[in-house]
């Protein structure tokens, strides 16, 4: 295993001043470069706080978050993010939506205009990878929910982040579309070598996609279990119906039920 890309060490995060709500307490985890990690836990356990800590949107009161060897003290732009809500801007074409991060990230924004063709080509390639070839000129509201979520993934990847943070990206999709997108993410991970942290409620999704699963306790959240997933890659959707797959899901389910009861 290579060295960790993300290290969270004994982090406390409290909202709204010293008497405020303690979202996570003594949170520690490590994600290796190139690894696919999933974070699961009861609702309200601070999974979204974890997202914001890693991306530098929140700075913890206690402990340290380190990404790519540097302590996080401000937003980290080597990270791409995608949420359940695709938040495509309706006045931009899908292609222009995907190019949006480049208009913001410092090392791209100044060369965007002069090297437009190069970036557009890159966006088209990404669209092709997620199965949206030829949809770049469509507006997001002309796309289905699943297609919008695919475009959302492209937007999260366009600036070639080292780390992709996904916050329940498939939560609002029907189960067939969700399985399709699992495969899209699986293939992106394999092809781009990007490190992925997936926050999810769906245990089957976590086990299917991840190399390592962190189970969080109820609030204040910390890691109560660090489960490695043994299945070899590339994984086929068929493994969803194997008994050892279901054993892991079942066990995780038990852990989370316990965590809920403890709360």
């Amino acid at each position: 295993m290579s060295e960790p890309l993300v290290t969270i060490q004994d982090v406390d995060m409290r909202y709204g001043g010293p008497q405020g709500l303690l979202a996570v307490e003594g949170l520690s985890l490590e994600v290796a470069t190139g690894e696919f990690a999933a974070v699961v836990g009861p609702s309200g356990c601070g999974k979204s706080t974890l997202m914001k800590l890693v991306t530098g949107l929140y700075i913890p009161q206690e402990g340290a978050v380190t990404v790519a060897g540097a302590r996080v003290t401000k937003p980290v732009n080597i990270v791409g993010m995608a949420f359940q809500n695709p938040t495509m801007l309706p006045w931009r074409t899908t292609l222009d939506n995907i190019l949006l991060p480049l208009e913001v990230v410092d090392r791209h924004r100044h060369r965007l205009r002069r090297h437009k063709a190069e970036y557009v080509e890159k966006a088209e390639r990404l669209l092709e990878t997620v199965g949206l070839k030829g949809f770049g000129q469509k507006y997001p509201w002309q796309l289905s929910g699943g297609m919008q979520q695919r475009a959302n993934l492209c937007r999260a990847l366009i600036h070639e982040p080292d780390l992709l943070m996904l916050d329940e990206p498939f939560g609002a999709l029907d189960s067939f579309t969700r399985e399709e997108l699992w495969c899209v993410i699986r293939d992106l991970h394999a092809a781009q070598g990007v490190t992925i942290v997936l926050v999810t409620h769906d245990l089957r999704e976590a086990v299917f996609l991840a190399d390592r699963i962190f189970v969080m306790s109820a609030r204040p959240g910390r890691i109560i279990k660090n489960q490695t997933v043994p299945f070899t890659r590339p994984r086929d959707l068929e493994i969803l119906y194997q008994s050892d797959f279901n054993d892991i899901v079942h066990e995780l389910r038990g852990d989370i039920a316990d965590a809920r009861k403890a709360a």
């Binding site: 949420f83 938040t87 309706p90 006045w91 949006l100 208009e103 913001v104 509201w141």
Partner: protein
């Protein structure tokens, strides 16, 4: 075109049919009940007045249209600027909002005497009244558009190192444009209200002034002619604003903003 086989598009024709119907019922009611013109003049009587007094009506209509339009343009510029300012930060919002609500609650007719003291009788109080009454809906709508940026969108951009300015330019301001253009339809009709109020209280031209003068001479058909002209100007300006809205923010009508 509708699917009707007769070739008549009833929906497109409806505004004309209804308007025509209103005038016919009106005309008939006046004739059947034999109402005197000083109570309710018949549409033909009003049309006669418009014809008879056309030079005066035309001049005063242009004056009202002029004060309304200038006041409206000021309201657009001021409302857009103040709306962006208010939507920019919660501190400014919290501080200015109660002030604006209080100011909006003041009947504008009560402000006209003050404007007359400052600027004298004439065009300027009418322009300023139109401005004062029209700018509030623009401010509120622009600020609403800015304040309702999806938090996820803001997170995505802030994580990439976006400054407040980036988020405003790339997301906030384009996002508030449908609200802004939608508010123009309300603002333009209010601007007419404002300028006519001022013309009625303190002016020597404009439709409001003309109607007041006609009333004092008991020329009731001319008063009604003024009302009809105002309605026509209002409808035309409203239609222009609706057209501008469609042209500028067509995307907003085909998509739901919060579509998942």
């Amino acid at each position: 075109m509708s699917a009707q086989s007769k070739g008549i598009d009833w929906v497109t024709a409806a505004p004309w049919l209804y308007t025509g119907g209103l005038f016919i019922v009106w005309e008939l009611a006046v004739r059947v009940f034999n109402l005197p013109p000083y109570l309710l003049p018949a549409p033909t009587n009003i049309a006669g007045a418009i014809w008879q007094y056309w030079p005066a009506i035309w001049k005063n209509s242009l004056q009202t249209l002029y004060t309304t339009t200038v006041g409206f343009i000021l309201a657009v510029v001021g409302g857009l600027a103040l709306g962006i300012l208010v939507g920019w930060s919660r501190f400014i919002y919290a501080g200015l909002y109660p002030l604006m609500v209080g100011f909006n609650a003041i009947p504008k007719v009560a402000v006209v005497p003050i404007l007359v003291i400052w600027f004298g009788i004439g065009t300027i109080p009418a322009i300023l009244t139109a401005f004062l009454i029209a700018f509030f809906p623009i401010v509120v709508n622009v600020a609403t558009g800015l304040a309702t940026i999806e938090p996820e969108m803001e997170d995505v951009l802030r994580a990439l190192g976006a400054k407040k300015m980036d988020i405003m330019l790339k997301v906030g301001i384009p996002r508030s444009m449908p609200y802004f253009f939608g508010s123009l339809k309300i603002a333009i009709t209010l601007a007419f209200v404002g300028s006519v109020i001022a013309e009625t209280v303190a002016a020597n031209s404009g439709l409001g002034h003309m109607m007041l003068a006609a009333q004092s001479q008991f020329n009731v058909p001319l008063v009604w002619a003024g009302l009809i002209m105002l309605a026509i100007e209002g409808i035309i300006m409203y239609a222009v604003m609706a057209w501008v809205e469609m042209r500028m923010t067509g995307w907003a009508h085909r998509s739901q903003m919060a579509q998942v």
